[in-house]
Amino acid sequence: MDVRAFARLIGLRLTRAWPEPEDPAQEAAHHPPSALLAARNAAEVRARQLLVRLLTPQQREDFKLHGYFAVQVARRGKFWILPSSIFNVLNAETGACYCAAPRAEVPLSDLMLAQKLLLENDPEAFFSVANRRAELMPGLVDERLSPDRVMQARRGPARSRIRCSQLSMIPHMDRPRTRS
């Protein structure tokens, strides 16, 4: 196979893996207009004001300093609520992260407020639906530092997952067959 044919095949494979959005609505969803962004920002500001008002003095101090705060859950211990929309409830003792969020779309600060209220007043409602994954090895990180470690790890370079079928760009046709 010549170089041009090989390049065409690679291009074809890339187009299949990352197709161009043809639908304008789909395109708009990827690149929301500025009015929508402004509305989202306004909602986040409003939600943040409500959250800050309803935190305890200690939680407010933690939130202003670090962006996260701790809640004490009856019979389960201390949990950190991190400023992230997925797996953002961290068990300070075990290092496990939990994920449960309102079904309706809400700003991040509303999500954190909802989780605080549920964990402090109705924890079973939270844990009965939350998904769980281990994020830190218990005992390996100082308890006070663990929220920072989780946030740091999440800010690091993304490790993308690739399917085996995406690994090879070498076309299967024209590959010499081995005869047994």
Binding site: A39, R103, N121, N131
Partner: protein, 77 residues
């Protein structure tokens, strides 16, 4: 005045009412929203209760206090 805050994409939607005739419409709306959302799996909490009282889960409209937060139904993420 009592305040019912429903968390939504705009931050929250507020319905203010009390026991007077003047706010009867708002009260009826608040009660309808409260009962409909609880029936759909939402959870309500009394907050900002004063005198150092802790927040508390609430399930009946008649026991609402100054401020109530309605959290939409939560699901595992």
């Amino acid at each position: 005045m009592k305040m019912l805050r429903v968390l939504d994409s705009s931050g929250d939607r507020v319905i203010t009412f009390d026991d007077s005739e003047a706010t009867a419409l708002a009260r009826a709306e608040a009660q309808a929203v409260f009962e409909r959302m609880l029936a759909l799996g939402s959870t309500a909490f009394k907050v900002n209760r004063g005198e150092g009282k802790p927040d508390e889960k609430v399930t009946t409209f008649s026991t609402l206090e100054n401020e109530t937060i309605l959290v939409p139904r939560i699901v595992g993420g």
